[in-house]
Structure formats: C-alpha cells, structure tokens
C-alpha cells in the first residue's frame, strides 16, 4: 500500500498551467483565501494559503488551472482493482441508465470490484453520534468536505476544535473494503484501492491527509475522465460482460449523504446545512464572534449543491441531485428506517473511525513575533492611507489590503500600485523606465502588445 504521511506542507491538486494562463485575474478575484497573485503575466498560487476549493478552476476563462490526477494505467499494477465511486457519479446519468450498466462500464474500464463510497455512511453516523455525546463543544462542524476543513485551519483557527473528528465515508470505506478483501484471502499487496473524485480538495486530502496518519487509498481517478469513458461504453452496443464484484450495503441515507442537507438531517439537535464556499466563509466569520452554542451541528460544503457541483462533475448539478433523491426514495421504500450497524467485524469504529488532532495553520499573521507583527500592522494601516482602495488588482494582488500586507511582509513594493506609481513619477521618486519595468514584472513583457487571440478580440479561438 502506498501511504503518504501527514507533512507540514500541504499537497495541492490544483496548478496553474503557465503556457495557457493569460494573467487575466479572474481567479485572483474569486479566491476565498487570497492565495493568488500575478507575476510575469501568470497567476501563481501561494501553497500555504490554498485550500484546493477549486473556485479558481471554475473562474478561469481559458482552462489554465489543471487538476492533478493519477494515470488510469496505474491501476493495472494491481491484480485486484477496486474503484470506490461516490453516489453522485451515478446521479450524473439519466435515470433510464441502470446502476448495473455503470458498474459494467467500470468493469470494462478495468476495475474488478466496484463499491459505493457511501456504503459505510451508517458507520459514520454511528461514530458521529458517539463523539457528539462526548464532545461538548458546539457547534460541531462536519469533517466531510476537505476544502472546508482546510479553510477552517487557515482562516478560522479558533474553530478547529469544533471539527467533528470522524473519518468521512471515503476513508471509512477504503479501510473497510481493504480489510474485507484481505480477509477473503487476497494478499494485501495485490489490492489496489482507487477513488473516483468529484473535486480537487478530495485529491489533496488523499495525498496529504489532515488529522489521520495515512490514507488507505492508492490512487485517485478524476470523475470527468470516468464520466467520458462510461458514456463511451454506454453508447456502444451493450455487450454482456460479467458484472464486477460488489455488495449491497448502500442505504437511502448514503445515496444523499454528499448532497446538501444529506448529513445535517441525521444530526441530533439543531443542525444547519450551508453550501458554497463564499456562504460558508461569511457564516464562519459570524460564528467566530458570537457564541452560537445553541446550534449543534453544521454541515458545510465548499461547492454549490455540495458534491453534485464539484469541479470535476460533468452532469448538471441540479438534475444530479434530483436523480439522487429519486434513487434514495426507491431504496427507502424497501428498507426499514433504522440506522444499520455494520457489525461484520471488518472495521472497528472505535479504532479506525476517528480523526486525530487537526492543527490550526493560520495564514493571517504578519510575523511570528508579536512586537514585530504589531509594527507591521501599524505600517500596513499607514500604507492604507495612501493606497486608493479600488481593489483593481493592477498591482498583481487581489486588493489593496493584500498588497499592503505583502509589502510589510517583504513580498511586494508600494510602486506596484499603478496609481501610486503615477504619483511617485510626478514627485521624482520613480523614473518612467523603472515604472515600466515594475509593470512588466507583474504583467509580463508582451502583455501590452497587440494580441488578437484574446477572448472577444478579432481572432478569438485561433
């Protein structure tokens, strides 16, 4: 099993492709942690600030943000190839396409075993209830969405202790199925466990887990790739293949788990569900001030419509949610409503169900030392008297305050501001040629030359 130890450095699944990036600033403007700057005409992502939420990916007009993925061919290194698919994968396809056809397609792509990620949701519910009884901290915040866990680590450090320290279904299922297959007599080294991911944050979480020692997953396959491969298979004539190995542990609860309110409805007490990272940002900002200890549980998801709106999802997110609701209703009609305890002994929740400590990783501090940081805050406040406050992004930082913070931490200079540049030239503090050089360092030398291949220009798309 390949394992990745938790390290101080965050692994990121998002990267700027410099050859495609035009330095247009769309990504810089939407980043919820102000992690993007423009240098040499290209966007750069600051690793300590990025939470892999994917807002930049959505905003990029030229598809210059790439999502890392493992090569599909790597699955063939293992004789037993297990794919864990979240229920939203099936939710993307029209209702007339049976889940079994999708399973068969996955078999043809090369997987020997297909299990749904949410098969272990009842264990997650059970572990969550245990922890809510023991931990009196309120509100408890779900650990489901890795972008939100990271957002809290970097921007809301005082709330890290509120995060529910329960493994999300993907980790629970990976451990469960690895053990189950081992117990069936398959040598451990023959088992390859793969996860079909709807987003970048889940990739980053697998590659550098937070609050757990190692990930039980061998590789990540991006959902958009699988979606295309499955559609191709379905459009060809259905050939009769032997179906992959699977089981029937999925429940009506599991099917809806990754949709908005999917978790919150199973929480004891008062629970709220919020989706969309800007909404979550705003809400967390409020609860850091007030003591909202009358709310018991918060389900927070980075994407609109939760995982159905993940950046690697191809289907329409609203239709995906509708289909999942229908599928869940079908399951509910034939199950008793009790939370099933999976007590087959393959996974002991008390041993494997819980996360370790989640460390705060504050990004706002201007210096480790308080006296030095105080001086920097004072300098920043003074500087804001001069910066224009337009937040135009012309300096290569998302807004004036960020530029001021970059300057006092030694990562920028005041002459980057295109308005103050003019003032400085007038007062002979800066020469015209220096100003041109500074602007070129930010926007690249060719930026201001004629280029008709831009979006909206004469030769767009040429």
């Amino acid at each position: 099993m390949q394992t990745k130890k938790q390290t101080r450095d965050f692994h990121h699944a998002l990267a700027v492709q410099a050859d495609l990036c035009t330095g247009c600033t769309h990504c810089m403007a939407v980043c919820p942690t102000r992690a993007i700057r423009i240098r040499n005409g290209k966007a750069i992502i600051l690793a300590n600030r990025c939470v892999d939420c994917g807002e930049c990916y959505k905003a990029c007009p030229v598809s210059a943000i790439a999502v890392e993925q493992d090569d599909l061919q790597m699955i063939f290194r293992f004789p037993v190839r297990v794919i864990l698919i979240p229920s939203i994968l099936i939710g993307q396809f029209p209702r007339k396409i049976m889940a079994s056809s999708i399973y068969n397609a996955l078999k043809e792509i090369g997987f020997t075993h297909v299990f749904e990620v949410e098969n272990t949701v009842d264990m997650v519910i059970e572990a969550g209830r245990q922890i809510m009884l023991e931990n009196k901290e309120r509100p408890v915040i779900s650990s489901f969405c890795p972008a939100i866990v990271r957002l809290i680590q970097v921007k809301f450090p005082s709330l890290v202790d509120n995060i529910l320290k329960v493994n999300p279904p993907i980790d629970m299922s990976a451990m469960y199925y690895r053990e189950k297959l081992k117990m069936s007599g398959i040598p451990a080294e023959n088992i390859g466990l793969f996860y079909a991911t709807p987003c970048a944050a889940k990739i980053a979480a697998v590659k550098s887990p937070v609050g757990e020692i190692e990930s039980a997953i061998d590789g990540v396959i991006n959902m958009d790739l699988l979606y295309n491969r499955i559609l191709n298979y379905l459009q060809r004539k259905y050939t009769e293949t032997t179906p992959p190995e699977t089981d029937d542990l999925l429940s009506s609860r599991g099917i809806l788990w990754s949709t908005t309110r999917g978790e919150a409805i199973h929480s004891a007490g008062r629970a709220l569900a919020i989706d969309g990272i800007q909404n979550v940002n705003e809400f967390l900002e409020n609860i850091e001030n007030e003591k909202l200890d009358k709310i018991d549980f918060l389900e927070l998801r980075a994407c609109d419509e939760s995982c159905a709106g993940g950046i690697l999802m191809s289907g329409n997110r609203f239709l995906t949610v509708e289909r999942l609701k229908n599928r869940s209703d079908e399951y509910r009609a034939r199950e008793d409503d009790k939370i099933r305890k999976v007590q087959d002994g393959y996974l002991d929740i008390t041993e494997h169900g819980f996360l370790g400590n989640i460390e705060p990783r504050p990004i706002e501090k201007l210096d480790e030392d308080i006296s030095a940081a105080l001086k920097k805050v004072e300098r920043k406040r003074r500087m804001m008297c001069y910066l224009p406050g337009f937040d135009c992004g012309g300096c290569g930082a998302p807004d004036c305050q960020t530029l001021a913070e970059d300057i006092v931490t030694g990562n920028g200079q005041i002459s980057q501001c295109i308005f103050l540049q003019q003032q400085m030239i007038k007062q002979n503090l800066l020469s015209q040629s220096q100003a041109v050089k500074i602007t070129g360092d930010i926007w690249g030398k060719e930026r201001l030359e004629k280029n008709c291949n831009k979006i909206g220009a004469e030769n767009e798309n040429n």
């Binding site: 850091e288 705060p360 308080i370």
Partner: protein
C-alpha cells in the same frame, strides 16, 4: 497601537463589525487563537450592549506586546445597579430586542468570563464605560 471604532445605537445589522475588524488585527499580530477568541467574544458582547441600550458609543483598542486593553464608552441610559446588571439572566432589554435574539442577560457576565480584567463605571442618565484587559500571555497576569 491604537484603534478607534464608532458604534451607532440601534443598528443591529452592523453589530459585530467592530469585533470582526479587531479579530483580523489579532490574527495578524499572531495572538494565540484561544485568547483571541475570548477577546472577540467579550468585545462582541460589549458592542451588542451599546447597540441594544445606548445612543452611540466609541471603542478604543490599545494593543502592546503584553496586553490588549479595550474601552467601550457609550452615551446612554447608564446602569443604576451594576452588581445587579452583572447577574446572569438579568436584563432590561425590550421584548423587541429579545425577539431578535439579543438581551438574554448574559452580556456582562460573558464579558467578565472572557476577559482577564473588567471594570465598569456608569453615570445613570449619561452613559457607561467598560474597560476590558486581556493579557497576551496568560501567565503574565
């Protein structure tokens, strides 16, 4: 470093803005997040008190490397019996204010719990001044 913020009485939609702004500064100067949380909660309660009871107020925040001193001075009805006002659950808030989720009578006791030092002075008919001090390193107390 000194920072001053004004608070308008009766403006509940903006209650919390001062606490948010101060929280950002505390993060920037790398105050331990547990201590920072206490300061922000105490300040938020003070801010809400001004909004709920007074006509206007001024918050002065004085930060040095050892402590954070917050002074919230308002023009308002004042408090005639401070000891009574400090009791948990004691409230003079109007039913309308309570309906908005404020005025549960926990404000002052919450502020005391979340500060290392608190002093209240008040002149009935003129206003109230609350001083809060939190030490940056708890053992420096």
């Amino acid at each position: 470093m000194q920072i001053r913020h004004k608070i308008a009485g009766g403006d509940f939609t903006r209650a919390g803005n001062v606490a948010s702004a101060v929280k950002k500064v505390l993060q920037q100067i790398n105050i331990d997040h547990k201590q920072s949380k206490r300061i922000v909660i105490a300040l938020y309660e003070g801010e809400v008190n001004v909004v709920a009871h007074a006509y206007s107020g001024v918050v002065d925040i004085d930060i040095d490397s050892e402590k954070i001193k917050i002074t919230i001075a308002d023009k308002g009805p004042g408090i005639s019996d401070i000891e009574k006002a400090m009791q948990e659950g004691y409230s003079t808030a109007t039913p309308q204010v309570r309906e908005m989720g404020f005025g549960a009578g926990m404000g002052l006791s919450n502020m005391k719990r979340n500060s290392d030092f608190m002093n209240i002075t008040s002149i009935p008919g003129e206003g109230t001044t609350v001083e809060l001090i939190n030490f940056i390193k708890p053992d420096a107390n």
